[in-house]
């Protein structure tokens, strides 16, 4: 578990257009800059928002990454729920899910 490094990647890509460009041009090279576990690296490489969420990423970092990947709001919420369904409860951090799996709190 290197949650700090995974969140550092999210922090960098959210705020740095150069990192966003490298994400498109040379994803492997970009991810080599972070000490990620295989699971974390795979989650980022495949854009698996649900797994990144379960691994403990802070939602304030994750929601912008989801938007960067082109995910509308409702799809972002659904992706996190799918992640919990597939991989189990959130393993670290502060952004645990506290509602039922099929609860649409905000109607989306």
């Amino acid at each position: 578990m290197s949650l700090y490094q995974m969140q550092k990647f999210l922090f960098d890509i959210n705020r740095d257009r150069g990192v966003q460009q490298q994400y498109r041009d040379d994803l492997d090279g970009l991810l080599d800059r972070y000490e990620l576990t295989a699971e974390e690296r795979g989650a980022i490489a495949t854009g698996d928002i649900g797994l990144i969420y379960v691994l403990g990423a802070n939602g304030q970092l994750l929601m912008h990454y989801a938007a960067f990947l082109g995910m509308p709001w409702a799809e972002y919420i659904a992706a996190m729920r799918r992640g919990v369904s597939r991989y189990g409860p959130v393993r670290a951090g502060l952004y645990h899910m506290t509602t039922a799996m099929d609860e649409k709190v905000a109607g989306v």
């Binding site: 304030q60 994750l62 709001w73 899910m97 509602t99």
Partner: protein, 273 residues
């Protein structure tokens, strides 16, 4: 001169970015209350606006996280987020570096601060400015309280920050307004987004309006996390405003709006001695 205005407001990105998904009447009422707060702010004829915010990793990260940081730049910019996502166009916002420096020097007499000559505003500041000073023509001094990456400053230290801010505002010739922005209970950016503990919020707002220091600083982070979510840590911004204003609060708007992910709040506070 002195502190001439104090208020609090919500800042959730959905307030602008997801406005089209909200009930139009509900959104219009809240946005109207937000603009009306801006009119009261303008009527106080401030020379500068201090925004006490709780940013979300726009500038500060766990590599070097300040509990309290104050902007000291001539100008700022925002939003750092995708303008289309937030529904607010990218713009420059004037600062006042000399004023920042004087405020910081006085505040440092009692509080340890980080300062920043670069600062990109995220929704925590841009959403309030969008309604309060829509022409972005009032110089802003941003203050950030870390509410995202624990350990977080204890509430009695946040109170001390507010007291230091008041002392500093009263020590400069300019007329100073302060706005605290944050959520009360909310679970933003999680699958729970839209969950709001209205009873908890109303209890907090009672304490805030009464400016009951003991009641305001008595929340533990464990209880806040349980009852009000990780977004509840942002009560720090409202508590700092109460400590600075020293008056009594008036609540103009409170309504849970789940698609905005927060109990949407607009209030101001008289300036006490």
């Amino acid at each position: 001169m002195s502190l001439v205005f104090a208020g609090i407001a919500s800042h959730a990105p959905g307030i602008t970015g997801r406005a089209h998904l909200a009930d139009p009447t509900v959104a219009r009422d809240f946005h109207g209350a937000f603009r009306a707060l801006g009119e009261r702010l303008a009527a106080a004829r401030p020379d500068a606006l201090i925004v006490i915010a709780a940013e979300h990793f726009a500038n500060f990260f766990m590599n070097n996280m300040p509990s309290f940081a104050v902007g000291m730049a001539e100008r700022y910019q925002g939003p750092i987020e995708d303008p289309e996502w937030l529904g607010i166009a990218r713009t420059k916002v004037p600062g006042n570096a000399a004023l920042s420096r004087r405020l910081i020097r006085e505040m440092m007499q009692s509080v340890d601060l980080a300062y920043a000559e670069e600062w990109q505003f995220d929704h925590g500041i841009m959403v309030p400015l969008h309604f309060l000073t829509p022409r972005y023509d009032l110089p802003v001094v941003p203050i950030n309280i870390n509410c995202q990456g624990p350990p977080l400053a204890p509430l009695h230290r946040v109170w001390g920050l507010g007291e230091a801010l008041r002392r500093a505002a009263d020590s400069v010739p300019e007329r100073i307004a302060v706005i605290g922005t944050g959520g009360i209970s909310h679970w933003p950016a999680t699958p729970d987004s839209g969950k709001i503990n209205e009873a908890w919020d109303r209890e907090f707002l009672e304490r805030w309006q009464a400016n009951d220091r003991q009641a305001l600083v008595s929340y533990s982070d464990e209880a806040t996390y349980r009852d009000a979510g990780q977004g509840g840590f942002e009560i720090r911004t409202f508590i700092a405003v109460a400590a600075a204003a020293k008056g009594r609060g008036t609540l103009y708007h409170y309504r849970p709006i789940p698609i905005f992910a927060v109990g949407c709040t607009i209030a101001d506070m008289s300036i006490g001695a």
